[in-house]
Structures are given as C-alpha cells and as structure tokens.
C-alpha cells in the first residue's frame, strides 16, 4: 500500500477554527473527519443561574456574525415559557432586523468568503483587482444589512435593543426612512449579484440530502414556522428532541446532530429554498429560474446562488415591512416569569438555530440546550467531502485540498457557534 499524507493546518475563509482529516487507502476514500478544535466556551453551562432578562445579550456572544439568530431564538423560547406571543408591529420589527442579519451575513459569505473559490483568488481583496465592481457591490450590500441592524438594534454586532417581550425602544418611521433608501439600492445590487454568481462554473455534483427547515403557512421562513423535511418530518419546534439527536464524537468540540434512526440532514439556504420555494415572491422565483435553478437545488456549490437569491428576498421583505410599519404602542409586552420550559427555533443565515430553556419561578435559567446550525450540518459536510474527494483522489494534493476546502465553504460553516471546526490533513495509505 502506497502512503501519502497531506496536511493543511487551518481551514480559511470560515468563521472559527477547525481541520479536516481525509484517509485514503489504496486510492479509495476510507474516512473523512472534520476536526473542530475551536475551544469550547461552554455557554450551556454558564447560562445556568442567569436571568431570562440577561439571556438575549449573553447568547448573542455565541456568534459575532449571526447574533440576531441567537437573540431571536432565545426571546421566542422565553416568551414560550412565560406564555405570551409577540405579534403585530413588534414581530414585524423582529423580522426586519433579522432581514438585516441575512443581508449582512450572506453578502459577507457570497462575496468575501465563497466567490474567490470560483474565480481562483485567495481572498476578496485580491479578487477586487480584477472584479472591483463586484467586490464593491458586495461591500455595499453588507453595509446596507448592517445599517438596518444598527437602525433597530443600536449596533450591527451584538445589538443592544432586543429583549424578551419586544424591544427596549421601538424606532420611529423617520428613523427607518434612510434605511429604506439604502435597501432599495441594495435590492438592485443583489439582483446584479445573483446574475454574477449564476455565471460561475459549478461542478456537476448533487447529493440527495434530507433538507430540514422551518415552514410557515404563508411566509418564506425566518422567525416562525413548523419544522419540516423532504422525508416526512412535520413537527412543532417543541418536538425537535423527539426527531433529532446530538452525538458527541472524539474528533470534534462540536456535537453532531442526526435525525433519529436515519442520520445526516442539511439545514441552511439549500434546505429553506427547497422546502419553501412556493413561499418566495414571484420576483425571486423568476430570478431563480433565469439563474438556471429549479424549485429544488441539490448541488451544494450552487448554494452561492441561493444565498444571493435570499439576499434579494431579504431586501424585498425588509422594504415591505418598512412600508407597512407603524410604531407599536408599547416597545415591549409585559412579561411575568413563571417556572417552565420554553422552545425557540428561527432561521439563522446558516440554518435553524434551536433553543430550549428551563426556568424557575423567578425566571432564572435552570437548564439550557442550544443547537446551532453548523453542528447540525457537520455530518452532511463530511458526507459531501467524501463524495467530492472520491473521484479526484488521484489528483494533486493541492487540487484535492482546494476542492475539499471549497466543499466545506459551500455550507458557510460557523465554527465559533458550533464548538461545542478546520486544519486539512489527507492521509494516503
């Protein structure tokens, strides 16, 4: 048996730290492991004993790229435990700030982290020398998303305005007016971005994923819905633990999620899109079909197109919400803590972010479980890697390494969130 070892010390253009281990025996991929060595920060332990009122600020710190996802799943869980539901203009404001996070996070990934893979650059800054307009458009989109988050949340990273029951202070219509103007321009830039990425060359690669996402009676899912899959799952978010389990593996500080008795599944843009295409406005559906996509996309390399389409959607949805916005009479609904358990699940840019909290009568956390999107996707990413690597194991180490890194970036993994991710080493025996 011939032995060959390739090692990459740190996966780049992902959020957080991890490595990849690829075992090749006699020209066949024997095993693939994503090694997440991001140091665990132990949020589920440190949250115990904290007040419900502090929770949105603490869980935001799980992720600097998608703090709103953590804040929103948490406030929904708190309200669920205390028996209230936030609807009307307060809910619209929540969906609005969440649109800002989708725009900011997706623009960062599409232009700064993922596009360089397709065009052969190490980063967006080098890419800007030949594709300056595209990079500047991407930055302008990201800026528009951040402006929206700042207008409602006070700042784009770890916004300060979200609380259980609603907000500390609701914005006036006048405060949203400048954002409306930049979003209208952002919507046009996003359409241009879709056309640009749709023109990339995509490897002819598809996998038969079990997609899991939220589904709402009449909206593309962001903050509410039932948990559904393309293989028959259709449950209330409170029943997540009856259908899904987390397993700990020796090679990762991230826990691996699986559908009980079935295995790997996929969350994120491909899943949301496949399960909710009919919930997209006609404008976005038309843009998708002009970009060569059907109602389902199983090629993870084309996730970049789906993300760009979701930016268009988020811009349109934000514009719709702003046009309809009337400031609520109260910035937050009154809350009365009580002992009990609450569940929250919302669509982070990378996929569903599920939370469960047990509170005592004063609203102090007794136990908490948080399932971030990347730990749910880790088994599917490993399966993608095995499938991507199998036909090219005889190619050069560098080609193999680049292909594997790209296969990982397809899913926009957020390793900081999941640790509880990537050095690449290929062992050939």
């Amino acid at each position: 048996m011939a032995t060959r070892t390739i090692r990459v010390d740190l996966l780049t253009r992902v959020e957080g730290e991890g490595a990849l281990d690829l075992q090749v025996i006699d020209g066949q991929v024997a095993s693939v492991q994503l090694n997440i060595f991001e140091p665990p920060r132990l949020f589920e332990a440190l949250l115990r004993g904290r007040s419900y009122a502090e929770t949105p600020d603490i869980v935001a710190r799980i992720c600097g790229i998608c703090p709103i996802a953590y804040q929103m799943s948490a406030v929904h869980a708190i309200e669920n435990a205390f028996g209230i539901a936030v609807e009307g203009p307060l809910r619209a404001l929540r969906r609005l700030i969440y649109c800002g996070e989708w725009i900011e996070s997706h623009a960062l990934h599409v232009v700064m982290l993922h596009a360089p893979d397709f065009l052969g650059f190490p980063d967006a800054i080098q890419m800007a020398r030949e594709h300056g307009e595209a990079v500047r458009s991407g930055l302008a989109l990201k800026k528009a998303g951040n402006e929206l988050m700042r207008a409602i949340g006070g700042r784009e990273i770890h916004p300060v305005n979200v609380k259980a029951g609603g907000f500390y202070r609701a914005p006036s219509r006048a405060q949203l007016a400048p954002v409306e103007q930049s979003l209208a321009r952002a919507r046009e830039l996003a359409v241009g971005l879709v056309r640009w990425v749709a023109g990339f060359r995509f490897p002819p690669f598809e996998r038969d994923y079990e997609f899991v996402a939220l589904r709402h009676p009449d909206e593309y899912p962001i903050d509410q819905g039932r948990l559904v899959s393309n293989r028959g799952i259709d449950i209330d978010i409170a029943d997540y633990e009856t259908q899904f389990e987390e397993r700990q593996v020796a090679h990762s500080t991230a826990l691996h999620s699986a559908v009980r008795r079935r295995g790997a599944y996929l969350v994120g843009p491909l899943a949301r899109y496949a399960l909710n295409f009919d919930r997209l406005p006609a404008s976005v559906q038309t843009l998708a079909s002009q970009s060569g996509l059907g109602a389902v996309c199983r090629n993870p390399f084309q996730s970049i197109v789906v993300r760009a389409l979701e930016i268009v959607y988020a811009c349109e949805e934000a514009l719709r919400l702003i046009a309809a916005y009337e400031p609520p009479p109260l910035a937050a609904l009154p809350l009365a803590p009580r002992a009990g358990t609450g569940f929250g699940c919302t669509e982070a840019p990378r996929g569903i972010c599920w939370h469960r909290y047990d509170f005592d009568a004063e609203g102090t956390i007794r136990a908490v479980r948080i399932v971030p999107p990347t730990s749910q996707n880790q088994p599917s990413i490993e399966a993608d890697l095995a499938a991507v690597a199998a036909p090219i194991v005889d190619q050069s180490d560098e080609f193999l390494r680049n292909s594997c890194e790209q296969a990982i970036r397809n899913h926009d993994p957020c390793i900081s969130c999941a640790a509880h991710f990537l050095k690449l080493s290929v062992h050939r025996t």
């Binding site: 140091p39 589920e44 332990a45 440190l46 502090e54 700064m112 080098q126 006070g154 770890h158 202070r169």
Partner: protein, 257 residues
C-alpha cells in the same frame, strides 16, 4: 525603491469572531486599508497565509486551552506590536464565568463524554500570558476605534482612544441619564467607546466595554441598591462579558456567593 508595506496579522483564540468581523465591517475603508498594509495572515478572510514576522498583530479571544497558551507566545515572538481586540482578549470574555465555577462540572453539563474535551480551568486575558502593547476594549470593539488603533501603531504614535466612562459620552450625546429615571446602569464605571448606545435605547449600560480607569464600583453598587437592585442582580451585572477584569471581579465578590 517603494517603501515596504507594514505586515498585519489577525489571530483568533476563544471568541465569537465578532471583533475581527469589525475589520470586515469597515466596508468603506477595507480596500484602502488593504492598499496601505500587507495583510499577511487573516484566516477568516483569506487563504493566503504567510509566516511572520509581523509589524502589527491584532489578537481576538481569550486563552482557554494549553495549546492556545503556547500559541500566543509564538504570536508574541513574531510580532513587533501586539494589540488585543475586544473583551475576550482584554478581560477573558463571557467564557471567564468558568473562573468562578468548577470547569469539570461545566464540561460535564455540555458534553456526554467530558474526557474528549481539553480545556483549562480558567479563561484568561492575553496580557496574563504575554506583554501587550495596547488593549482595545469592547464586546464588540468599535470599528472606528479599531481603524484609529491600526493607523496609530503604523504611524508610531499613541492611539487616541478615550479612557473615560460611558457617562461622559451620554452627556456629549445629550442622552438623559437613565439612572435618574430609576434604571440601574453600569455607565458610571464602564469604559467609553461604544458611543453610549444602551442609555439612548432607554436601557442601562451592561458594561460590555469593561471597567474604566479607576472605577468606583462600590459607590455605584450602593446606588443600584437604592434603586431596588438585589445582591444577585449586582453579582450578575459585574459578572458578564468582562468577568475577569479585576475591578469587576472584586465588586462581584462583594455581593454574596
């Protein structure tokens, strides 16, 4: 001969990535910055990873593993200037709550097989391990201050970053004091830099920029008590994103177990 561009590196330890994201969030300045400096190492943004030495290293995150305690030493050896960015690197971060607990119990609460997890009993700031040239506060840092710090170090001058409390910024902003409206606020003891956002949103500052220079935390705690805050409220307030900052550690310990 063209002047050599200064070499910049960005490093990550235990953190949420938010502070290094602040650099990518400089949408209007990023391409100009990339012209002024050579970004030699920034793995979140680039696959081009170069070896040192570096003129300026920006360090995000706290030290929570034996491997990271060794790695920060190597970063220091390769860096002319080392600047910490954010509350994790400067004061241990929210993960420093383990410093007041039994980390084995913490790990067991999260993982079914704790033996697979290698972590230290404490989360400590970078300055606890290596000399640091400047500490930029905040959870997250302010990107305008970040650009000032980068510019200052590359120009060989001291960064113009105010060390006063959030109170001064509320006055400058014209925000009516929330304490006088009965809302407990950490602004009087908290380092400025955020722009005094929370009081402008009618909530008390929650101290995410950490302690200002010589804060009178005891006097503030008495004010909080007169507003009805409990010992537990005070303990929680001083034990958050800058839990390992000494003035906040001692004040938190003054309010029961």
């Amino acid at each position: 001969m063209p002047k050599r561009k200064p070499r910049l590196a960005v490093w990550k330890f235990a953190s949420c990535d938010g502070c290094q994201l602040s650099l990518l969030d400089c949408e209007d300045e990023l391409l100009a910055l990339a012209d002024a400096v050579h970004i030699a190492q920034f793995t979140e943004a680039s696959s081009a990873v170069e070896d040192g030495p570096f003129d300026l290293s920006l360090v995000e995150g706290s030290i929570t593993t034996a491997r990271d305690a060794e790695r920060i030493g190597e970063v220091r050896r390769q860096s002319k200037y080392l600047v910490t960015i954010g509350a994790c690197a400067t004061a241990g971060g929210i993960q420093a709550l383990r410093n007041f607990a039994d980390v084995r119990e913490y790990v067991a609460a999260v993982y079914a097989v704790p033996a697979y997890i290698e972590t230290l009993a404490t989360s400590t700031p970078i300055a606890g391990h290596v000399p640091v040239d400047f500490e930029l506060h905040g959870c997250p840092i302010n990107k305008v201050q970040l650009l000032e710090v980068i510019s200052a170090f590359l120009a060989g001058r001291k960064p113009a970053v105010a060390a006063h409390s959030v109170c001064i910024d509320c006055k400058l902003r014209g925000t009516v004091c929330v304490m006088v409206q009965g809302i407990p606020c950490l602004g009087p003891v908290t380092h400025a830099g955020c722009g005094a956002i929370c009081p402008a949103f009618r909530r008390g500052c929650y101290g995410c920029y950490g302690p200002m220079e010589s804060p009178n935390t005891a006097a503030l705690a008495r004010e909080w008590r007169s507003l009805g805050a409990s010992a537990r409220d005070l303990k929680r307030a001083f034990r958050s994103f800058n839990a390992a900052a000494p003035p906040f550690v001692s004040e938190s310990e003054a309010h029961g177990d």
